[in-house]
């Protein structure tokens, strides 16, 4: 068992080296596929994160108060919201605090807001609801109250956002599945060439009494090896470009857009796992498929 494993690994390295050109071609095509897959992965993960973040934002109903509403009156309004079913918490936010919050959100770019001559923000009450359905009730009640200027609630936006995210996820999945199939075909064709080049040897092996798994072993390892090399190259390229891009754009843009970006280390770690799994499976499937017909008789 151990002998034949060592034999397989040794043979696989020899084969990859002997068929450098074809191995390189396979590595290139799998790497290209993994790079595209990586782009989709980064996009999907970031979109997901943005959606989650905005969903949290939109779970609050913002009730803007008229400027003439006194603090005492606004406390009464706040109490009324507290009494409603499905309301988790309420918070009174005066206009100065609202501006300060906005400023801090913009971070280093916050000075841009200093140029405002007077604070355009109204006093408001932030009503956090426990579920999206309760928000409708809150909005309805608020409409009947006095001293309220406007109610901002982005249910439609949230729903639209969720729909778009879903759509992107599903199409990414379909495209990835397609890419994986293409890669398996490419790898299996490459390995088929090495199999054909060694058909005499394989034939002889069968006459001498080699089992199918013994014959398949080196080719399987060859496929897996090609998969691993491609995975490592792709992770390297993606991790490098992702860190460069996020450095270049800087955190500011993301803060202003109010969507955070997934950290480089988190992304790299996940990509290593995903790419290795995908690369190894593609390599293994490719080689098993290419050998199938050969080992029939």
């Amino acid at each position: 068992m151990l002998n034949s494993m060592i034999y397989s690994i040794k043979q696989a390295f020899i084969q990859v080296f002997r068929n450098r050109a074809m191995s390189l071609a396979s590595i290139f095509s799998i790497t290209a596929m993994l790079l595209i897959l990586g782009l989709f992965f980064i996009a999907v993960v970031n979109i997901n994160m943005a959606t989650e973040a905005s969903k949290k934002d939109y779970e609050t109903v913002q009730v803007y108060l008229l400027d003439e509403t006194t603090f005492e009156d606004s406390q009464l309004v706040k109490d009324e919201f507290d009494g409603l079913e499905g309301v988790e918490s309420t918070e009174y936010l005066n206009k100065d605090a609202a501006l300060a919050k906005w400023k801090s959100k913009w971070g280093e770019s916050g000075y841009l807001l200093d140029s405002l001559s007077n604070n355009p923000l109204p006093n408001s009450i932030l009503v956090t609801v426990s579920e999206l359905e309760a928000a409708d009730k809150v909005v309805k009640t608020a409409k009947t109250m006095d001293g309220i200027e406007d109610i901002k609630y982005y249910k439609d936006t949230v729903e639209k956002l969720l729909k778009i995210t879903n759509f992107i996820q599903i199409s990414a999945l379909i495209i990835m599945a397609f890419l994986i199939i293409v890669s398996v075909v490419v790898v299996s064709n490459t390995i088929k060439l090495t199999v054909l080049a060694r058909s005499r040897e394989i034939h002889m092996m069968k006459y001498v009494g080699a089992t199918n798994w013994f014959i398949r072993g080196p080719f399987l390892v060859e496929g897996i090896l090609i998969g691993i090399i491609s995975a490592l190259i792709s992770v390297g390229i993606i991790a490098f470009s992702y860190s460069k891009i996020s450095e270049m754009i800087g955190q500011d843009v993301f803060i202003i857009l109010s969507t955070p970006i997934v950290s480089v280390s988190f992304m790299t770690m996940n990509l290593v796992i995903i790419f290795l799994a995908v690369g190894v499976s593609i390599g293994a499937c490719g080689s098993i498929i290419s050998m199938r017909r050969f080992l029939d008789t």
Binding site: N3, Y207, T211
Partner: protein, 246 residues
């Protein structure tokens, strides 16, 4: 020991073998002769279970070949050595590697391989050629390598498919002597051949197959019924494994 009991094999349009029963005892040396397409190839392929019989039973040693599962075919083939007319050595491996590779397949350790390969090479008379590549050897030496590869795992049966077909008469006789020595060690030998003078001078059991039937089975000469066949060297006949047969 090889036993065929009422074995029949048809191809789409042709008869491979029809109702053939025969016993080849352990330690026998038999010549399998007959015109091209007579059924010799079918006979050999059935022993190796490369093809399935339509009916009848085949036994090789203690193994019932006809009912053998695909997974156990490698085990069967390990008890059968095979030598071809065109040697079929791997050109990128040295002589020692060509032989050692047959041992790797049955999971022998590198130490055992390193110890046994030189022994087997000197047994077949090429003890000094271990590090050469096949194309550096003469045809006769290449066939010796092929024989070494076939017997290195101590098979009980050795099938030789026109082993002298590509060799000049002197070399052919050297190979026959080697096969006889191997036979004397107890290995059953089934040799497919068209070489009349070899069959005549060896004076062994001769099985003649024609049109899927055994038409003669006794010890003796090649026989007048086969005289239209060419003698000793039969270029391009291809041996029983060539595609055009059957």
């Amino acid at each position: 020991m090889i036993i065929f009991d009422k074995v029949t094999k048809y191809y789409k349009k042709n008869v491979g073998l029809e109702n053939v029963s025969i016993t080849i005892d352990k330690g026998d040396f038999v010549f399998l002769v007959g015109p091209s397409g007579a059924g010799k190839s079918t006979f050999i392929k059935l022993i190796l279970k490369e093809i399935e019989a339509d009916s009848g039973t085949i036994r090789v040693n203690e193994t019932e070949v006809t009912t053998l599962s695909n997974r156990k075919i490698p085990i069967l083939r390990r008890s059968i050595g095979i030598v071809f007319q065109d040697f079929r050595l791997l050109p990128k491996k040295t002589v020692a590697e060509n032989v050692g590779f047959a041992m790797e397949i049955i999971h022998k350790s590198q130490r055992t391989i390193k110890r046994q390969v030189p022994q087997i090479l000197s047994l077949v008379g090429i003890g000094t050629k271990g590090n050469k590549y096949p194309d550096e050897l003469s045809a006769g030496e290449q066939q010796r390598v092929a024989i070494a590869r076939a017997i290195v795992n101590n098979p009980t049966v050795l099938i030789a498919d026109e082993p002298t077909g590509n060799l000049d008469p002197d070399t052919a006789w050297e190979i026959m002597n080697l096969l006889e020595q191997i036979n004397l060690r107890g290995t059953t030998i089934v040799m497919v051949t068209h070489a009349k003078d070899i069959v005549d001078r060896m004076n062994k059991r001769v099985i003649v197959i024609d049109k899927g039937h055994i038409v003669r089975d006794n010890v003796g000469a090649y026989g007048p019924e086969l005289y239209e066949e060419p003698c000793l060297v039969t270029p391009f006949e291809g041996g029983v494994f060539s595609e055009d047969v059957e």
